[in-house]
């Protein structure tokens, strides 16, 4: 228990991401390098939500708030010539502070699950309408105008700490984004196997029982919530560095719903599932977007309803279950352990 061990599946998945990080820039053209870097940033944000929802059992609809806050913090700090490291640190710190304040009120106030979901959503909506209303030049932080609906453009890319003007190439940024994704995935996978992570899963399963056993669910929930927020903030910063632009749409409903949708699609309770689902669905979304078949909120709404209707367990677990039954039917009986495998040990 004190020495957490990671299973081979998780290690293999992280290794796969690391291989993509190193090989990708050589195999792909610049357009796809940029596109996949952006996908990896959003996948990073989703891992945070997958942890908060799947491991901790806290359904936060405000994940986009932390993502957007990180994005804006990076944009402001790097434009104000703070250097990439300061900007990245700020992008993690800002969501951390918001998550601490919000989480204190929500968890220590013992606000119910349902209310928590609603309140986190409200915070996101408020941030969205606030940043939309900052068109006036008097709304500026550190001398950087927030720009209202137009957002902040010409955000500097990531630069090496040695020299402020020594920007990373798109290929290096690609490698960095995928390595950040692999490292975060591995770290969260490791965390859920530590003593704290196991108690977090216990809180998810039965909060009252954990409390009676002497653990403090409020503290654990706050801790997990803050970790998820920091991951989202980092993802937002990398996303902005990659795109060179940030606008209020990072806070809008479709952004929140995308994170949620990818997590459901990948399977709540797993960390690798949401990552895979996010890549698959982002390709799909960009295909729909470029082919102009229908507007995205129509499609996303329909896809969410489809998943709730048909695959409530998510894409990956449903696929696993299907494969498992197929193999069993074919006579290749797996060990009994595999059939009773809990969500906890899924990669």
């Amino acid at each position: 228990m004190t020495n957490p061990r990671i299973d081979i599946g998780s290690l293999a998945f992280a290794a796969l991401l690391a291989v993509v990080a190193l090989v990708g820039p050589m195999a792909l053209d610049t357009f796809h390098v940029l596109q996949l870097s952006a996908y990896a940033c959003l996948a990073l944000a989703v891992v945070g939500l997958a942890f908060v929802w799947g491991v901790l059992g806290v359904l936060s609809l405000g994940h986009a708030a932390f993502f957007g806050l990180g994005a804006y913090a990076y944009a402001i700090l790097s434009t104000a010539a703070g250097g990439s490291l300061v900007a990245l640190a700020g992008a993690i710190l800002a969501p951390l502070i918001l998550a601490l304040c919000l989480g204190y009120f929500l968890f220590y106030g013992r606000v119910g699950d349902v209310y928590l979901a609603v309140i986190t959503l409200c915070v996101t909506l408020i941030l969205f309408s606030f940043l939309n209303s900052t068109a006036d030049v008097s709304y500026a932080l550190l001398g950087v105008p927030l720009g209202g609906f137009n957002g902040i453009s010409a955000v500097p890319a990531l630069a090496w700490p040695s020299a402020a003007e020594d920007f990373l190439t798109p290929a290096t940024t690609f490698t960095l984004c995928f390595l950040a994704l692999a490292a975060t995935y591995l770290a969260l996978q490791l965390l859920r196997r530590t003593r704290t992570g196991r108690i977090m899963a216990g809180v998810r399963e039965n909060e009252r029982r954990c409390e009676l056993l002497g653990y403090d669910p409020r503290r654990l929930k706050l801790l997990g919530f803050v970790i998820g927020a920091c991951v989202a903030g980092l993802a937002g910063a990398l996303f902005t560095a990659n795109a060179g632009y940030v606008g209020p749409t990072v806070f809008d409903l479709s952004q929140s719903s995308q994170f949620l949708l990818w997590t459901i699609a990948g399977g709540v309770g797993t960390l690798s599932g949401p990552i895979v689902a996010s890549f698959v669905l982002q390709f799909l979304a960009s295909f729909i977007g470029t082919s102009q078949v229908a507007n995205t909120s129509l499609v996303f709404g329909a896809v969410i309803i489809f998943f709730v209707y048909a695959l409530p367990n998510g894409l990956i677990p449903s696929l696993q279950a299907l494969l498992r039954t197929r193999f069993r039917l074919a006579g290749r009986q797996e060990p009994a352990r595999a059939a009773g495998e809990s969500v906890e040990s899924a990669p």
Binding site: Y115, L125, F128, L260, I264, L298, V299, I304, I305
Partner: protein
């Protein structure tokens, strides 16, 4: 003196608007415990129903008070039948399903009617108080909101159907053993909630821009108001609205409407920290 009166009317209007947008949610979320994220879109559909039928030549009052609630009740009943009915008792799944519904409705309206703001002029003109003049429609909204709360309260406490609905929400199995079909009661109650949301949309159409994603600006306020109201759904909600309305109105007056909204939310979070079971925890048993 006149200035105080006019400011009082402005504050009463903000309370009335908060009550109107929360009433449908108080029934669907407060009574039935369904997290209806499509609430804002029900309001949006009600507003569109009023604008489109008024532009088509229907009398504005008929459009607001009859067509909007009827149309949204119909939409609500269809959604309940096809989607929400399957997930009663499962809060998370209903939340996700209604979220999908919300996006679907926004997308569908955008595809059909375009992403442009529509509007109609407020009826009734103005009434003067000394040097100031106030839109008569505001006064109508205040009176109508009060009337609607009263009617809903009487409906829930003094009619047979209200009794059956409240009993069924408390104990569906017991209700079914005495010959009441809980499914039917749930469906009708959802329809009533949707009708109230549609009515709110119709009434707000003359004083707000009508566009596909207008619901987003109402759903947050409505939810915090109903949540902060607590277990006594109707009167708790009105109490919370009377607290939050003035906060939003006064802060908006001195800063911007957006900071007004933010202060409403902050007040709600603070209230829930201090009174986790809501404002009505201290009330006597009432609907």
């Amino acid at each position: 003196m006149d200035q105080i009166l006019v400011s009082g009317i402005a504050i009463a209007t903000s309370i009335a608007i908060l009550v109107l947008i929360s009433l449908g949610l108080a029934v669907i979320f407060g009574m039935m415990r369904i997290i209806n994220f499509a609430h804002g879109e029900f309001i949006m559909l009600g507003a569109y129903a009023t604008v489109l039928s008024a532009n088509a030549g229907v009398n504005l009052w008929v459009a607001m008070l009859v067509i909007s609630p009827a149309f949204v009740a119909l939409v609500g009943l269809i959604c309940e039948r096809l989607l929400i009915r399957r997930y009663y008792g499962n809060l998370t799944v209903t939340m996700l399903a209604t979220w999908g519904l919300s996006l679907l409705l926004i997308g569908a309206v955008t595809a059909l009617l375009g992403n442009t703001t529509r509007g109609i002029a407020a009826p009734l003109g103005n009434v003067a108080f000394g040097d100031y003049s106030v839109s008569t429609y505001q006064l109508f909204l205040i009176a109508f909101a009060a009337l609607l709360v009263l009617a809903t309260a009487l409906f829930l406490t003094r009619t047979r159907y209200g009794l059956v609905a409240r009993g069924t929400m408390q104990n569906p199995e017991m209700a079914s053993t005495i010959g009441i079909d809980p499914k039917r009661v749930y469906a009708v109650t959802f329809g009533v909630g949707a009708a109230l949301s549609g009515l709110a949309g119709g009434l707000l159409a003359p004083i707000s821009g009508v566009l596909p994603n207008m619901g987003a600006s109402y759903v947050a306020k409505a939810f915090v108001t109903v949540i902060a109201g607590g277990s006594s759904v109707l009167f708790g909600m009105v109490g919370a609205a009377s607290l939050f309305g003035p906060i939003e109105a006064i802060v908006s007056l001195f800063t911007t409407p957006v900071i007004g909204q933010a202060s409403l939310l902050a007040a709600a979070i603070l209230l829930l920290r201090l009174m986790p079971t809501g404002l009505s925890a201290g009330f006597r048993r009432s609907p």
